[in-house]
Amino acid sequence: MTEAGPITDAASTTAAQLDDFLENEYQHGFVTHVETDTVPRGLTEDTIRLISAKKNEPPFMLEWRLKAFRHWLTMSEPKWSAVKHPAIDYQDIIYYSAPKSMKNGPKSLDEVDPELLRTYEKLGVPLKEREMLAGVAVDAVFDSVSVGTTFKDKLGELGIIFGSFSDAVRDHPELVQKYLGSVVPPADNFYAALNSAVFTDGSFCYIPPGVRCPMELSTYFRINAKDTGQFERTLIIADEGAYVSYLEGCTAPVRDENQLHAAVVELVALDNAQIKYSTVQNWYPGDKDGNGGIYNFVTKRGDCRGKKSHISWTQVETGAAITWKYPSCILRGDDSIGEFHSVALTNNYQQADTGSKMIHIGKNTRSTIVSKGISAKRGQQSYRGLVKIMKSAEGARNYTQCDSLLLGDQCGAHTFPYIEVKNPSARVEHEASTSRIGEDQLFYCMQRGISAEDAVSMIVNGFCKEVFKELPMEFAVEAQALLSVSLEGCVG
């Protein structure tokens, strides 16, 4: 190409083209060019041995993986959800990809390839010391490896362990062995079994007894390499009386092929401990015709193992072509509390089948589910939830609220609540509503000088307010902005 480009291009940009541009805009769609260390496509026991060897894992870990793999071979994909997608060829996926520069294990963030650091900077998550986000410790996961963790030493002074899962397997094998798979067993479901066999990295966090973690802990997941699946494994343990607030963010480049992200997250809260887990999920959703995008098939479960323990899930799901996830709580300890607050948005051809499970086992256990679904264009969404009160759960209480908001007339919202009560003293409430953004509401805002797009995002944000207030401050702001971007081009 010559220096002087065709100048007529700019002039011929019509309003329609601008619309297309707006609709396609996914702000984190860039690709980082780094040399990678990649295993061959496909999945066999040898692939797993190779992954385990690359990570210098102790023998118990390899055994655990192989056992999960052998079980996975006997399983088939779940068919009960409402999502539809072409068959996934599990032999056509690359199960491990890491930047070559990470191979020698940089000792500190100073030694990390600047190209990788730049990637996170671009995503708004600076890792370098002088630019770090105050009050938030970040573990940055790039494809199959953790690039680095900020504030690691400072947290270490309090006895808090926070870093990559791979490090934890090597440095704290006793904790990993004790808790890994204790909430989501390897054979739990098809995707969890696959994850257990091939998981590469994720975060590990342990808060010792009585410690209140002084900052937000967070993991930023980035899928970069082509045809690669990301199999994240996260394990968070809050020991007796401990408190931690953790959040995760996710993005990926724009690509025409679908990519698989099959994660497992396990939370364990012992007596009087509290874990707040927040997700802002913004995987590449595919283009406006439904090409490409991440399949986000995730198993997240928290175990309120101790008395008066408390686990809350807050999620804002705006990305991914397909989301299949049901963050759940097992309320084992007496007087324990489980919460689920969710905003899920499906635009264009996105599909989401999401909800929560609350399993009440202990006495006087309480749970709350607040689910807000927004569908635009051809987006399809299902809320699927289970509230199960076991015989032992004397005095258990649940409150569930599912609200759906529709934009346009081609989208869909569906609700599948399952309720099983085996103790007559239990109290279970379920409320559901479906509404459409009213023309009246839009016109009212526009008559006050607010553009249609701003009006939609204002109305949607109002609809989601109950959930956003559960997010840590900085992320509530980010979530609002994200929602606006994701809705761009769906009116007018």
């Binding site: 009213g438 023309e439 009246d440 509401q441 016109f443 009212y444 805002c445 526009m446 008559q447 006050r448 000088g449 607010i450 553009s451 249609a452 701003d454 204002m458 109305i459 944000n461 109002g462 609809f463 989601c464 307010k465 109950e466």
Partner: protein, 262 residues
């Protein structure tokens, strides 16, 4: 300020406005009265730019511009304000948030700096006092759970904040008790100025006792059939609209005759 010529509007193929002419100069207050279904609210909605109203003929010039060519939000930013007959509820969006977004959009359009939180609150409190509104209404969701009177006062509050050049008040007096009516009237009167024009669409003369118009127009079957000064409103109060309808007496006679033969 505003020049409406031969305006024809239909809704779902049904003609509502059928050749309406109206000129409003800066600083004037016009009252538009008329029986139900005469097209009063349609006029208000069309001026504000509502969809579903199809303009089939005529023109509307506002400050030298073709008003009908502007998008609703641009009209608002250019200074056209509609006080809604039925203010809309927006759950989860606080009153103060909506107002701030609205005001800053309008200011930006006029080349003014956006107000910071402090300046905004100062202005807000001043106007709330004028409208005798409780502070807590600021933080409640827009119009959600507001009483009828509170909703209408909220409309005038918004108008006071946005300082429009042309305000169209669509039955702002309906559903108000006498106390609320007086407060609303006080708010409107405070906004009267030589640079601002006000069109009040109303069914009753009641509001006009408190906000005295310069002109009164009677709308019937989509046309203005009589215009006059404030005394016309009093006459209407006394005699109703019937005497003004074109060929009113003949119609009455004809329908009576039809009934007799049935």
């Amino acid at each position: 300020m505003l020049e409406i010529k031969n305006l024809q509007v239909q809704v779902e193929q049904k003609p509502i406005l059928q050749g309406l002419d109206l000129t409003v100069n800066a600083g004037e207050v016009h009252a538009i009265m008329g029986p139900n279904g005469s097209g009063k609210s349609t006029l208000a909605q069309v001026l504000a730019g509502r969809d579903n109203y199809e303009v089939t003929g005529g023109s509307v010039e506002y400050l030298g511009k073709d008003l009908l060519a502007l998008a609703p939000e641009i009209r608002a930013r250019e200074g056209v304000f509609l006080a809604f007959q039925y203010p809309v509820e927006i759950p989860g969006v606080s009153n103060v948030y909506l107002l701030k977004a609205a005001l800053n959009n309008v200011r930006k359009h006029r080349g003014l700096q956006e107000l910071d939180a402090f300046e905004f609150m100062k202005l807000m409190k001043e106007k709330m006092k004028l409208m005798e509104m409780k502070q807590e209404l600021l933080y409640r969701s827009v119009n959600e759970g507001f009483s009828g009177g509170e909703k209408k006062r909220n409309e005038i509050l918004q108008m006071a904040m946005l300082e429009p050049k042309l305000a169209v008040l669509d039955e702002t007096d309906s559903g108000l008790d006498i106390d609320a009516l007086q407060i609303v009237a006080k708010g409107i009167n405070a906004l009267r100025s030589p640079e601002r024009s006000i069109i009040m669409v109303t069914h009753y003369q009641r509001l006009l006792d408190y906000v005295v118009p310069d002109f009164v127009h009677v709308l019937s079957k989509g046309k203005i059939i009589k215009s006059g000064g404030k005394e016309l409103a009093l006459e209407l109060e006394e005699r109703g609209y019937g005497w003004l309808e074109p060929g009113a007496d003949a119609n009455k006679a004809a329908s009576a005759g039809a009934r007799a033969t049935a």
